[in-house]
């Protein structure tokens, strides 16, 4: 039995990381570079799977090509963007690499730690974007971008972790499609629902609610959840 991470969730985790980066990218060229990098990382993971299951030589070639594409995409974005724009997407891009390494069947049984680091890095994207006021609080499109990127960061962790844990318990050779699909759909739904609630509530209150009220509300919710989690 091969107890390496499962492919579907692994690929989706990389896609989520890429989506998180693209959502916070400010310029067209950065978005293009990030998309290219993400596509390269997906190809890299597929190549690693191929190398493990079918043809080693072909798989290594595909994986290296993917890695080259990812590096090229990242470099294209980096050379054309200005530094502050780059600072917002850089952690997310690094996160993409981390999650790809964590779920690619390279060595051992995958790495939960890499997936976790990737989640944190992608998480930084929307925080930096909103913190540096590139995403503006009174533009609803920006609000949606930030919330989407945040949901993407959560999915990176959830899908990546599921990929590793399924691989360890069931193995990559087994059929796991429905398990991964239902699981992924569940966490996507939770993200979509909570983001929608926030979006709708915020949309009604743009300019009207004082910040303090929102702060108070959120702090109480966070405290409540922290208490529940004890």
């Amino acid at each position: 039995m091969s107890s390496r991470p499962t492919t579907l969730s692994g690929i989706l985790a990389v896609v989520a990381a890429t989506a998180g980066v693209v959502a916070v990218a400010e310029t067209q060229t950065l978005r293009l570079g990030a998309t290219a990098a993400g596509a390269g990382l997906v190809v890299f993971v597929l190549g690693a799977v191929l190398a493990r299951s079918r043809s080693r030589v072909l798989g290594v070639i595909v994986a290296l090509a993917g890695l080259g594409g990812a590096a090229g995409g990242a470099a294209y974005g980096a050379t054309t963007a200005d530094q502050l724009h780059l600072a917002i997407v850089a952690p997310g891009l690094a996160g993409g690499f981390f999650v790809a390494l964590g779920v690619a069947p390279l060595y051992g049984t995958g790495s939960r730690r890499f997936v976790k680091i990737a989640c944190w890095l992608v998480f930084l994207g929307p925080v930096l974007s909103a913190g540096m006021e590139y995403a503006e609080p009174d533009v609803l499109y920006d609000v949606a971008r930030i919330l989407g990127a945040t949901v993407a960061a959560a999915l990176v962790w959830d899908l990546g972790e599921n990929s590793v844990s399924l691989g360890r318990q069931i193995g990559r050779d087994a059929r796991t499609f429905w398990n991964e699909t239902v699981h992924g759909f569940g966490s996507l739904l939770v993200g979509a629902v909570s983001a929608s609630i926030v979006y709708v509530a915020y949309g009604y209150s743009v300019g009207a609610e004082p910040l303090e009220a929102v702060v108070f509300l959120l702090v109480s919710i966070v405290l409540l959840v922290a208490f529940l989690h004890r």
Partner: protein, 423 residues
């Protein structure tokens, strides 16, 4: 049929980090006075609450297995198709590892599957096993179910009795001449009705007309009766040696001689029963097991039960030595027409002595001895030599012995030694 073992419920704590991210984002948002950062915190709060929204999954499964061949030959590939049916609520995350018999290896595919199952939904998967000689029972399948968020993991098992029985067909067992009064296949030295010519004698009133030699009558006018060798069925008692001494094996992870004896007994039992001999079963070892010779399907089932479930035949040796009384009991129970087949690795002299005594007592004895000795250290060689001398002791006493190299199918060995047995 499903059987739930004790469930092991654990929290995976996989969403633990979400609270930290929510607090971090919230903190940054407040400190920098950025409402959008605060909003991201709300999303994290949603994820932190997610595991709270999903409860503990209750798991009740029903397994069905179908085998492409439930009595394959040694080395054959058997396809196993396992169907898992959900008897509980929606299982969003089910991880199933089929309980492949530990003695068999998977040849193709994987006995594992992860899926989601709606109530009463079922999933089917198949894989291939390579069959080996012996009876192989499936063990309980490992089941791991997580709730939708994956925060709670329930570890349990599900069992469905399935057996792959890989038995070499051993054909007819050659028996010694001792026979019962019933018609069967043991050729006796007594004249009577039968098919093989035995002799002639003067006609006595009461002889069947069909047995009168009419040719002779026409030639010379004498009234002569033809005699044929009587064919009778045998009454056989299989005695398994499961004393502490018999638990010898060729290596640490190898099955003991008792395991092989049980396997051979099963084979012999089936074969003898099929040829309408009456067969009994006795075990000398941890406890006294006694199934008097008989025939019929019910009898067959009872013997199966003993061979598979009797505590006297478990794979680990008994702690204390068995006393001599067991052999005494055995001899008391034997009637004069029963012949005895001993199944013993001949690891000590007791069986040799008892076999000779029973044989001298009037019950024809044969011995089937699984050979688990190996080359190697001086001690092992000595055991090998000792066993060989026991074999020759028995043969000198006129007791036929099948020296069974366990690597070779029993049927082959029996066929090979058949000539010697019938002599």
């Amino acid at each position: 049929m499903s059987e739930e073992d004790e469930e092991d419920v654990q929290r995976t704590r996989r969403w633990r980090g979400m609270t930290a991210l929510a607090l971090f984002a919230g903190g940054v948002g407040v400190l920098t006075n950025r409402p959008l950062v605060l909003l991201t915190a709300a999303v994290w709060v949603g994820y932190a609450a997610y595991p709270r929204l999903t409860g503990e999954p209750s798991v009740e499964l029903e397994i069905e297995r179908s085998l492409s061949d439930d009595a394959p030959g040694h080395g054959d590939v058997v396809e196993v198709e396992t169907t898992v049916r959900n008897k509980s609520g929606f299982l969003t995350d089910l991880r199933f590892v089929d309980g492949v018999p530990p003695t068999l290896s998977v040849a193709e595919g994987t006995p594992r599957k992860a899926t989601a199952l709606r109530p009463r939904g079922a999933t089917t998967f198949s894989y291939k096993l390579t069959a080996k000689r012996g009876r192989h029972s499936f063990v309980p399948a490992t089941v791991v179910a997580r709730n939708l968020s994956g925060s709670v993991e329930v570890d349990t098992t599900a069992f469905e009795k399935t057996v792959i029985e890989c038995a070499a067909d051993i054909g007819d067992v050659e028996l010694r001449k001792q026979a019962s009064q019933y018609t069967g296949r043991v050729l006796t030295d007594e004249g009577g009705s039968g098919v093989e010519f035995h002799g002639t004698r003067e006609y006595q009133p009461g002889d069947s007309i069909s047995r009168i030699d009419w040719k002779r009558r026409a030639q010379s006018g004498e009234l002569i009766t033809l005699e044929f060798r009587e064919e009778r069925s045998a009454k056989v008692l299989l005695v398994i040696d499961a004393r502490q001494e018999a638990y010898v094996a060729s290596g640490e992870d190898e099955p003991s001689a008792v395991t092989y004896s049980v396997f051979a007994a099963d084979q012999l039992f089936q074969s003898l029963l099929a040829s309408r001999d009456s067969v009994g079963l006795a075990v000398v070892g941890r406890e006294d097991v006694w199934l008097p010779p008989s025939t019929g399907d019910e009898h067959k089932t009872r013997a199966r039960e003993i061979l598979t479930k009797s505590p006297a035949l478990v794979p680990s040796p008994p702690r204390k030595r068995s006393d001599e009384d067991m052999f005494k009991n055995l001899m008391k129970r034997l009637d004069s027409s029963t012949q005895v087949i001993f199944l013993s690795p001949l690891a000590d002299d007791t069986v040799v002595e008892k076999a000779r005594r029973i044989d001298a007592h009037g019950n024809a004895v044969s011995v089937v001895s699984p050979d688990v000795t190996t080359d190697g250290s001086a001690g092992r060689k000595l055991a090998q030599v000792e066993r060989e001398s026991r074999l020759s002791d028995l043969r000198q006493a006129g007791i036929p012995v099948v020296d069974w190299d366990v690597e070779v199918p029993l049927a082959k060995v029996l066929a090979h030694t058949r000539e010697q047995w019938s002599k």
